[in-house]
């Protein structure tokens, strides 16, 4: 075994000694934590339509392609996006609604696909857990309709379905919606990018270079909240 138990004890006892005058007693710790200042904005101010428009605007600033749809027209909107991409080989997570898997394309459903099989795919279609309008962020909790992490990583083209009711205005609203912290989460804010050479922003290094979003206007239905994060 590579860890010596002495080091653990040593570090913890040094840490304990270092903070002995300021550390809270364990039964007061939660109170001390609750008393920390949190005067920042925790609720958005925008009305529903403005919030969705901000999300779309911010996504477009990242060069993501955004189209809008309704729940009824969604399968057709998906099919049209797939066709426009000029690609035919797609992967999809197991939990995706069957009607999303448009006919006429080569679908591989992830029931334990190998990395090589996913690498061969030209694109991926998934749902999402949340959208954060202020930063144009898509959050994946990697549940059954969002897929394993590798699924939205290797294919160069990602089509993500985001319901309007999943869009919050600010980051704190996402956190207050997440009752249970997810075991896995990926916050995606635009396609992968680098500015390491002379601060010139280059789109697409290792992650998908093309991010497409369909915003589904379901806001008149009951707000379903987040999909269960721990699956």
């Amino acid at each position: 075994m590579s860890t010596s138990p002495q080091s653990r004890e040593q570090i913890l006892s040094r840490t304990r000694a270092a903070t002995s005058s300021v550390a809270q007693a364990p039964d007061h710790l939660a109170d001390a934590y609750a008393a920390l200042p949190r005067n920042y904005i925790r609720r958005g101010q925008l009305a529903s339509q403005a919030r969705i428009q901000l999300m779309i605007e911010r996504l477009r600033e990242y060069d993501a392609e955004v189209v809008e749809s309704t729940p009824q027209a969604l399968p057709a909107a998906i099919a049209s996006q797939l066709a426009l991409s000029g690609r035919h080989a797609f992967v999809a997570p197991e939990g995706l609604p069957v009607e999303w898997l448009a006919a006429g394309f080569d679908w591989k459903i992830d029931r334990g696909l190998s990395t090589a099989e996913i690498e061969l795919a030209q694109g991926v279609l998934t749902a999402a857990s949340c959208g954060i309008a202020e930063s144009g962020t898509i959050v994946l909790h990697h549940s059954a309709d969002e897929g394993r992490r590798v699924l939205t990583l290797l294919p160069d083209w990602h089509l993500c379905i985001l319901r309007a009711s999943q869009i919050v205005e600010t980051l704190p609203e996402y956190f207050s919606r997440s009752q249970l912290p997810p075991a896995l989460a990926t916050w995606i804010s635009g396609p992968s990018a680098t500015a390491d050479i002379e601060m010139t922003r280059i789109k697409g290094v290792h992650g998908p270079r093309f991010l497409h979003i369909i915003v589904v206007h379901d806001e008149f239905s009951i707000q379903p909240g987040l999909t269960s994060p721990l699956g």
């Binding site: 080091s7 270092a18 710790l29 590798v150 912290p181 990926t186 697409g204 290094v205 290792h206």
Partner: protein, 486 residues
């Protein structure tokens, strides 16, 4: 021992020359200064725009400062909680007292995997413990995967910034490195082409190398999760594709709860790169069956951090979330770049962190590498009062030096001791003024200024003039005035 004695890099504070000396080559290199200034100007203008749009920026800073201070003040509790939750989720937690222990833990883990290669996400902590040369000497090739880190690794260079480590290198220099090391003779210096070359170079490595090393932006005590913030997707590749993942993190990286990310993530990208959020933030918890590495290790590194924690004023150093806003705003860093600091942690935060990690045995010149203008404190998203710590460290360095026998005849300390005696009695002070006036009269020009002094005095007059002593000192004028009034 066979693994010792890898040649030390220039950023090893143990061997680095003092800051003023290390800064000279940069100050004489106009290309380097231009590269640094350009990069900083771009980040600074983006940052300013995005910080201005946050009307609650100051409230976010206060919240972040409070959370980080609370986490540090109760660090042992949160570390144990993190360990318990991470272990319950299938991770293994290892504890490393110092750099050497961390290196050996990681090497043991890699050997158990029979690894001959490992892919890495950018981690300054691994640079701090000089992991790559150590692994190399042990026969394991570490492949950096962040674009800037690849440029540095292939170009045999060292990081000069903690967020954009290759900001001192321009596109034609990158082209030269890639052409030479990747055998791409016809490569252009267009950043798109250079980035594409790196993508091709790395793709196969991501898909085939089964072990990875990362750092951590945050450890979440409540859940045992680890969060990594990045831009390129190389991090996601390393976190997802290998079968074994090793995360190296300083013990100070812990946050109490998942929800604390709502503050940190709003501050980090805006401060670091001038973005609302970095393209990718990943969070994982131990091992998830069927998704990502099925063997996960966290190495918690002390390496001097617990001794910083013990000092009430210096403790705030550990609040740092490594955004680099302080170096981007620092007028000294702007002129010298990162290498002058002789540490993987440059800029104002490096000037306080490095000497403390070295227990003030090395890097004593760094607390002086500042004009104390306070710009770093103003931009710090977790409100580290860097000037306060700088001054405190200066006092500690001075206290140590003036008591050391080797410095007994050091002109500065000798002068201070003499001044101490002269200032102790009025008559001694008056006598010193009297003789000083006579002695300096010869050097004082008609304009009342001394432009050049011999011997030790030249150290002052080489760079600035000295006001001559007035013909009548204040106390004499005061006494004469009082007499006249009667």
């Amino acid at each position: 021992m066979s693994l010792a004695a890898a040649p030390h890099p220039i950023l090893d504070p143990v061997f680095a020359p003092p800051f003023p000396q290390a800064a000279l080559p940069v100050l004489r290199n106009p290309q380097l200064r231009k590269n640094v200034a350009h990069a900083i100007d771009v980040i600074q203008s983006k940052r300013a725009k995005l910080v201005a749009e946050k009307t609650d920026w100051q409230q976010l800073r206060s919240a972040a400062s409070g959370i980080r201070a609370h986490a540090l003040e109760n660090l042992s509790f949160y570390l144990e909680q993190f360990e318990a939750r991470c272990t319950a989720a299938g991770g293994s937690v290892h504890w490393a007292s110092d750099a050497s222990e961390a290196r050996h833990i990681i090497l043991d883990l890699l050997r158990r995997e029979n690894a001959s290669e490992v892919i890495k996400i950018k981690t300054m902590t691994s640079a701090e413990i000089q992991l790559n040369p150590f692994l190399e000497a042990a026969g394991i090739r570490a492949h950096e995967t962040d674009l800037a880190e690849i440029i540095l690794q292939l170009g045999d260079q060292e990081p000069s910034h903690i967020v954009v480590p290759a900001l001192h290198i321009n596109r034609s220099q990158v082209r030269e490195i890639f052409a030479r090391r990747l055998g791409l003779k016809d490569l252009s210096d267009d950043p798109h082409a250079l980035t594409a070359a790196a993508r091709t170079y790395l793709r196969q490595k991501f898909l085939t190398i089964p072990t990875a090393i990362s750092g951590a932006n945050f450890l979440i005590a409540e859940t045992g999760s680890v969060a990594v913030v990045e831009s390129e997707g190389n991090g996601r590749m390393c976190l997802t594709l290998p079968r074994t993942m090793i995360t190296l993190a300083g013990i100070e990286k812990v946050l109490p709860r998942f929800q604390d990310l709502e503050v940190m993530l709003q501050l980090l990208a805006r401060s670091a790169t001038g973005e609302r959020m970095s393209p990718y933030t990943s969070l994982w918890t131990g091992v998830t069956p069927g998704d990502g590495p099925q063997s996960f290790h966290v190495v918690l590194l002390d390496n001097g951090r617990s001794s910083i924690l013990a000092k009430p004023r210096e403790r705030q150093t550990l609040k740092c979330i490594r955004c680099a806003a302080c170096m981007n705003t620092c007028p000294v860093y702007r002129q010298t770049g990162g290498h002058a600091y002789g540490s993987v942690y440059p800029g104002p935060i490096g000037a306080i962190l490095t000497p403390q990690l070295m227990q003030l045995q090395h890097a004593q010149s760094l607390p002086y590498a500042s004009s104390l203008c306070g710009a770093c404190y103003e931009v710090c998203p977790v409100k580290i009062n860097i000037p306060e710590v700088l001054i405190d460290l200066r006092a500690q360095v001075t206290d140590r030096e003036r008591r050391s026998f080797a410095r007994f005849f050091d002109p500065m300390y000798l002068g201070m001791r003499i001044a101490n005696i002269l200032f102790s009695a009025a008559w001694l002070f008056h006598a010193a003024q009297f003789f000083g006036r006579i002695g300096l009269r010869f050097f004082t020009r008609k304009d009342g200024w001394i432009h050049s002094l011999p011997f030790l005095g030249a150290k002052w007059t080489q760079t600035r003039d000295l006001r001559g002593l007035p013909s009548q000192p204040f106390h004499a004028w005061w006494a004469a005035r009082a007499k006249e009034a009667k």
